[in-house]
Symmetry: none
Subunit: 403 residues, 2 copies
């Protein structure tokens, strides 16, 4: 029996409310052997109390040694096996800006970039142009005629980022990036990795040329780099799989995209505690499973800012304290992956997790929420994809398997 | 996505050097409830220091309750799922003596044995004849004409052990052993477990008869017992899967065989610290991933010699101390399986593992390297096949999965 069939067959209704709090990249590393991590240095009275009252553990996002991107890391926490279910960055970008993708659409991420007179990339982010100019440029590329009877739709995402959608019959998404991930070289030609994707590769080439013509008067943002081509294939919906009414509260498009990919209702928050808590309260009016995404823990980790990350963890703790006043029956806290400040990137290290609700076992020791304390937590070592079923069980939403 | 595709797609180059130190059968059991194991009794300052500075855990070679042979146990530590990838003992024996197996070859292990006048086995190891006589006998059996247009090649392995290879078109390996694993009975007739292996079974029967004729003047080694028939199908190579330049340093043919099976360059050491360290230094000139095999921990366990095994563990610790002077970026220590002296055989118990390198989390307690301390190690409980990806991650050799 596969995971989806298992959950569908066991899901049962209950009058319980779940808070699914994901602090992006919360897991970390000590500065040196035997030292404390960012989370262990931070003052986190709310995390610590929930950990001591509930059960903790450590979750591996994809597999040991594998550092995940945000897409697979979130899909895993939504109960999907991230090695079986894959959604490309282009699709997540389009879903993240509320674009109404249709099955079969091909989507890719756009970076506006700067090209010199020889056509070589001098800035992969076009001087990090602001959202105002970015939106104008995206609008200027919307609706380009590429032939083949295909619609070409462009939407702005944020700052220098946008996305393009090719809509038509028989397109496939298996096409390589044009972004060379380097400067001083020309953009790459898009290549079909499978003959069925030849048309998409041709459309991508044509789009790059015509976009370049339309942007030729721009001094800074005079070209586009494409990556993350993918075909939109709707996933099983969260509501249908698990029998909950799910909503997402997230400030960043990427995370709204992955929530929309599984059919959650999405609330776009500002990047403040007030906005996050206010929208969560609004979301609770029609929903009983609220995924709240907290971003800045990851950002500071990527910056290599150990103390800054610890501060953002404290802010996450304060955010959670306010969210708890909204009265949830089950609260889950974890990260999608670790982003140690000493590593400056997503890493493979397991992520602390806690579940606070009815029916929790005690951890071996009551010493708060941290990478070390979670080693001896009651939940043990888990894959991220197993967190959701545990939370549903605590919420009384999973029936018995077999007679 | 399967394991091989995943690793291939994520492998990336790095200028780092890995020591992969496998102390055969290192895991053990206490003499009585609550007591210390062989590893915990031994004085192992180097293992203990690395464990305290790095991260530890416990690895299950195949699956809970399953005691593995050396072949699957090593394949698992090389990143292969030992339930999916199987290599027969015959193939490992032939590879272990540097024989140039070709895809489609059938290989089996030979024991020279003693038969009485009724054709019954009186000694399965022919009085443990030495390597000098064993080599002569093996040579006398090389090139027997078995018909069917098949080449029959015999190579000596060690003492009373040899191997036979059948080379020709359309052979399959699914044939039963002739070794009855007992004395006072006749050798078994080889049987095809699948009709496609009928020819191989017929060749094996003919080989046993003709070998018996050629050995009839011998008093002690006057017969052969065959086991571990297998067809050689090359595995994905370690270098191609993981993007490293791998070498193996091992004193025993079996372990050189399993290293050759995954395409490692093999250095045959003497069974001394000096030879092991010297050859490791030589291997490092052209390789960046060195698997070092330490055998005697397993041998003493099989003998039921608790104190002797603890002594050999101390020798392994001293060997590692010398190897560390060669400057590796990441060091991994574990065993392929447990061989508790009280059990006198390979067992199913998880094996202590440690990884020392950059980006290590602290264990819950800093109390050295042992079966008990590893329970609360930062790596938790793992399958053996997940050790290699973790080591590659610490060595900066695995990229991010998904966007």
């Amino acid at each position: 029996m596969d995971r989806f069939s298992l959950y569908r067959s066991l899901a049962r209704p209950a009058d319980t409310r779940v808070l699914y709090f994901i602090a992006d990249g919360i897991g970390g590393l000590p500065r040196g052997p035997g030292g404390k991590t960012e989370l262990e240095m931070a003052t986190t009275p709310t995390f610590d109390r929930l950990a001591n009252e509930g059960s903790t553990g450590l979750v591996t996002p994809v597999a040991p040694g594998i550092a995940p991107g945000s897409g697979p890391a979130h899909l895993a926490l939504f109960g999907f096996d991230p090695l079986q279910t894959r959604v490309g960055r282009g699709v997540l970008a389009a879903l993240g800006v509320d674009f109404d993708l249709k099955p079969g659409d091909i989507a890719a991420r756009i970076n506006f970039c700067t090209l010199d007179n020889d056509g070589k990339v001098t800035d992969r982010r076009a001087g990090r142009i602001g959202s105002e100019l970015g939106a104008l440029l995206a609008e200027s590329l919307d609706g380009i005629d590429l032939g083949f009877g295909i619609d070409c739709i462009v939407r702005h995402v944020k700052e220098y980022r946008a996305c393009v959608v090719f809509r038509g019959e028989g397109l496939e998404g298996n096409v390589t990036d044009t972004d060379p991930q380097d400067t001083g070289v020309e953009p790459l030609a898009p290549k079909a990795l499978d003959p069925v994707a030849d048309t998409t590769a041709a459309l991508a080439s044509e789009f790059v040329v015509k976009a370049g013509e339309l942007l030729s008067d721009e001094k800074v943002a005079n070209g586009v780099l494409l990556r993350g081509f993918d075909k939109y294939v709707p996933l099983p919906s969260f509501a249908e799989l698990y029998g909950v009414k799910p909503a997402a509260v997230a400030a960043y498009p990427m995370y709204r995209g992955v929530a929309r990919a599984v059919g959650m209702t999405v609330f776009a928050s500002e990047d403040t505690i007030e906005s996050c808590v206010g929208l969560t309260q609004t979301a609770m009016e029609g929903h009983d499973f609220i995924f709240v995404h907290f971003k800045s823990t990851d950002s500071r980790g990527e910056d290599g800012d150990f103390d800054g990350k610890a501060e953002q963890i404290e802010l996450a703790d304060q955010t959670l304290a306010e969210l708890l006043e909204l009265n949830f029956d089950v609260v889950m806290v974890t990260g999608d992956h670790s982003t140690p400040a000493t590593y400056r990137a997503h890493s493979w290290h397991p992520v602390p997790v806690l579940i606070r609700g009815p029916h929790c076992r005690a951890n071996a020791r009551q010493d708060g929420f941290g990478e070390t304390s979670c080693i001896t937590g009651a939940l043990g070592s888990l894959r991220s994809m197993d967190v959701l079923p545990l939370v549903l069980a605590h919420a009384g939403r999973l029936g018995k398997y077999g007679a």
